[in-house]
Symmetry: C2
Amino acid sequence: MGKKIVIVGGVAAGPKAACRLKRLMPDAEVTVIDQDNLISYGGCGIPYYVSGDVSDEKELRSTSFHMVRDEYFFEKAKGVKTLTSTRALAIDRQKKTVQLEDLKTGTRSEIAYDTLMLATGSKPVMPPIPGNDAAGVFTVTDLHKAIAIKDMIAKGKVGKAVVIGGGAIGIEMAEALTDLWGIETSLVEFMDQLLPRIIDWPMAAILTKHLRDHNVAVYLKEAAEEIVVKDGKVAAVRTGKRTLDADMVLMAVGVRPNTQLAKDAGLLVAASGGIVVNERMQTSDPDIYAAGDCVDIINLVSGKRFVAPFGSMANREGRVAADNIAGIPSVFRGGVGSFIVKAFELSLGAVGLSLDRARAEGFDADCSLSAPSDRAHFFPGQSILCLELVFDKRTRKVLGLQGTGAVNDALSARIDAAAVALAAGATIDDFANIEMAYSPPFSPAIDPINAAAYIADNLCDKRMAQISMEDFYQWMADPSSHPDWQVLDVRYAKEAVPFIERFGTSLWTSLPYDQVRDRYRELPSDKKFLVFCNAGSRSFEIQLFLASVGFKDCRVVPGGFNIVRRMGADWLPVS
Amino acid sequence: MGKKIVIVGGVAAGPKAACRLKRLMPDAEVTVIDQDNLISYGGCGIPYYVSGDVSDEKELRSTSFHMVRDEYFFEKAKGVKTLTSTRALAIDRQKKTVQLEDLKTGTRSEIAYDTLMLATGSKPVMPPIPGNDAAGVFTVTDLHKAIAIKDMIAKGKVGKAVVIGGGAIGIEMAEALTDLWGIETSLVEFMDQLLPRIIDWPMAAILTKHLRDHNVAVYLKEAAEEIVVKDGKVAAVRTGKRTLDADMVLMAVGVRPNTQLAKDAGLLVAASGGIVVNERMQTSDPDIYAAGDCVDIINLVSGKRFVAPFGSMANREGRVAADNIAGIPSVFRGGVGSFIVKAFELSLGAVGLSLDRARAEGFDADCSLSAPSDRAHFFPGQSILCLELVFDKRTRKVLGLQGTGAVNDALSARIDAAAVALAAGATIDDFANIEMAYSPPFSPAIDPINAAAYIADNLCDKRMAQISMEDFYQWMADPSSHPDWQVLDVRYAKEAVPFIERFGTSLWTSLPYDQVRDRYRELPSDKKFLVFCNAGSRSFEIQLFLASVGFKDCRVVPGGFNIVRRMGADWLPVS
C-alpha cells in the first residue's frame, strides 16, 4: 500500500491536491475530509446561481463535461476517498493521526496519515450586531446558504433586501438581487468607499455611480448597527443614519482564515490570520502542508504577508502542495492580488497595491489616471477603459494597476498582463514597452497599458503636473478655496458650453486644443489653469506648451471628462 | 532657435516621435517629410474601412476626439511642420542635410538637420508574375489603395475576388470582402498552411476551417502563377492547380522594410532587411535614428533579429527614439512578436515562437495543446479557447503561446500575459503560477494559461505521453499504418457512438472515464491506446492510470474533440 495522505477540506485546494496526488502517486491512499456533504464546488459562482444565470447548484459542482463532483465521482473517476459530513476535530502530530467526528451519527474515529494537508478555507465574518441570528439573515459562503437564499427569493418572499459589505461578494450579490429578481436592494458599507483597500476613490466612485444607475441604493460611511427583527424574522436594518426595510439581509463583510485546527495543533499562524507556510506550502510541521484561503502568503509587490482568498489561488497552491508531498520541488512564490469583479455592465479590476495602500506601506507613491479606448477608437463597439497606474516615484517601480471597463475581457487583459509584470518587479519603463497583441478589433495602436506608463513616466520626470481627482472635486465643490484656479477646457467649444453656463467664464474657460498655440495670449495671466479635456492627453500637451510660454503652475485634470462623467458629481452639468 | 529635427516618414513612428519631441523640446524645429499627402493614419484599420465597419477613411486618420490628423492639425495642435507630397531623395551625412523633391511641382530642395530620424516604413511585396500590373490588382498598404478598392467594390464592379497571401492582411481582407460585401472570395497561399511561421498546423487548420465555413475558398500549397488579363483588367488568377475568376486581386504576400534611403546613405542594414539600430533606436550614424517597420529588432525569445511591422511597435519605438533625441536614455529592448487577428467569429493570436520555428532555431521544443473554457464553464456565454504552449524541454523555458477563441478579448488576455512573461524569460513553472484575475464572468478557477503550463510540466517530466495532432490525423487517414493503435474514447458512451459506427470497435473503443478504474481489465492487452476525450484532461488521467496498471505506451490525443472538431477532417463523423 502507498503513502497515506489525509486532506482536511474539500472545496478547492483540497480536491485539487487530492487529484494531483493520485496522478503523481497512483498507489497513494488519499482521503479528503469535509464537514459538509457538498464538496468541490465553485463558491465564486454563488452570486450567479442566486441571480439565475446558473440555473442549478449542481452546475457549480460539476466538471466542464457535466459530471457532478460528489463522493462517487471522487472514488470512481479519481480514486480519491472522501469522508463528507465529517469534522476533523484535532490533529495528534506525534501519533500522526486526525480525530474525526461523523456529523450524521456522532461517531468518533481516528485516521492516520503519513502526510496531512490542511485546506480548511475561510469562514465569513458575522458582524456582532443585535438581530444577526434572525431568519432571513444570511452569509454568502457555502452552497447550502446559496440554496436557501435562492429558495426564499424564488418563493417571492423577498421584496427588499440589504447587503452589508461593499466587497466583491456584496457587489455581486447586489447585482444578482437587483438585476434578475428586481428586488429593491441597498448596499451598506461602513468605509467611505466600496472595495476599500483594493481600489482608490476615483474607481470606487465610478462603481458606486454605476450601481446607483442600476437601482442599487448604495450607502457609504454607514455601519449596520442593528437588524430589526419582527416575529423572529428580519424586518429592517438600522444604520447610524437610517432604517432600511428588508425581508432579507446578506452579510458580506469579509472572510477569515479557518485555522482553529492548525492553532490547536500548535502550528504557526501569522498575524494576517493565515497558517504560516513556506514556498513549498509546508507548515511549521514538515509533515503537514496547507493551501487555499487558510494560508498566509507573500505579497510580491509589498513584500509583506497577506491572505488571498480566491479559488484560483487555492488551486495553484493546492497543486504546489501536492507536488511537494509527492517529492516534486515546485514552489509558490506568492501573489500580487489580481482581482476582478463584474457589476452590471461594468468590469472593475485591480492588481498590486492601491495608491492609498502603497502610501500606507511607505512607498513614495503617485498614480496616473487615464481613460483610453479599449480597442482602436474607430472600431465599432469600442468603449472606454478607466485606468489608474500606481507607481513609486523613487524607484520607478510599478506598484499596482486598477481600472474599470465594459464587460468584455479588455480590462482583464490589462490587469493580467500587469500581474505578470508586477510579479517580475517591473518598472514604469518596462510597462511602457509591454507588447500587447495589436489589431484594431482588440486594442489601440498605443495600448492603454503603455499609455498609462507613458503618463507615469511624464509624472515621475516632472514633465506632467496633475491635480489629484480628490483635490479637483474638492475645489469644484468649493471654488472659493482657490480663487486663483480656473479650468481651461481644451475640448471643442461646444463641449464646454454647459460648463460655462453653469460656472461662468471666471471659473471655466474654453480654448480649443488646436487654437491654443495661436491664442494663448488671450488667457488671463493671473490664473493657475486646471487643463481639462476628454482623456487627459490633450491637457498634458497644453500644460507643457503653456509652461513653455510662461504659464507656470498649470495642472492636468487626469483622465478628464471620461473619468469625471463616470464618477459623476452634483456639480456636473451633464448626466 | 532650437534643435532642427527632420523625420522622414509620416505614418506611425514618425508622427509619434515628432509629437513627443515637441513635448520634450518645445523649442525644437520638428519637420516630418512624407511622399504621400495622407499621413498619420491607422493602416491596420484598412480592412475595416474596406469592409464598411469604418465608414470613412477620415476616421483612420482622426484622433479619438475626432480631429483629422492633417498638415493643419500637426502645425496648429502639435507645432510640428509637415512636408507632404515630398520625397526624401538622399541624405548627405557630412553636410547633415536631406535632399527633397516636391512631388507636385518637381522642385528640389535641401533641408538641414541636427538629428535625423528615419521612419520610412515598409513596402508591400509584389509577386513578379505576369499580369500583376493589370487594373483591379491592388496591394493593401496605403489609404489611396484602400479608397480605390472600396470604391471599386461600392460601385458593384466586384463579384469575385482573389486574395493572394494567407497572412494577417490577407485573412482580414478576405473577411472584409466576404462578410460585408458578399463577394465570392478565394484566398490563395503557397505554403501548406495559413499564417506560416506564426502559428503551427493545428491552429492554422482551425482557421482554415473557420474561413471555409464562412464562405472563403481557401487554397493551400498553390502559388499564383499568372494574373489573367482581359482588356487591361484582371479576369482571373491561374494557380498551378486551377483558374479562379476574379474581378479584383488583392496582393497580400507580405512587406519589406523600406531602406533604400538608409542604404544609399551608407547606414548598416541587417540580414533581416531592416535598418540596424541599438537599444536607443540609433542607427550606425549617431545623428540618425530609425524606428518602425523599417528597423531590425531583437527577438527576445530566440535572441535573433527580426522585423516586426506593427503599428503598435512603431509607436513604442518612435517614443524611445524621440526620448533619446531629446536626451532621455529610454531603451527599446526588442520584441516577442505578439500577434492577433480577427477572422469572422474567431480570434487567433500568437506570441513568441511557433513549434516549427522553435525547432528550426535549435530548441529542444515540444508543445501542449489544450481546449479549456475561456471563463467559468458554468457561466453563460463561455466559449472554448484552443491553446498551444511551446516550450523547451531542456531548460523548461516557455518559447511561445498561440491559440484561437471567440472574438471577446479572452484570447488577447492570455497572449498579452504570455507576452510579458516571455519578455521576462519565464519558465513553465512561472506560467503555472501566473495570477490571472479570477471571477466566473472573466475566467475559470484554473486559468487556461496555468492549465497549459500544467500540461507542459507533465510533458517535460514525462508523466504525460501524447501523440502529436499531425501523427493522429495521419493515422486516422490510414489506420493500417499502425494496426496496434486503438482510440480509447473516455467520453460519455453516447458521444462515442458515431465514431464507433464509422470506424468499428477495433479502431475506436469506448470506456467512459468514471468506469475505467472498475473496467480496465476488459481492454485488449495487445493495443496501444490513444486516449480521447473533449479537452485532454480526462485522457491524461486515464493514460496515467492505465500506465499504473500495466498498460504502457498509451498516449493522449491532446486537446481532444474540442480541437479536432474545430480543425475538422474528412474522417470526422460529425460536423
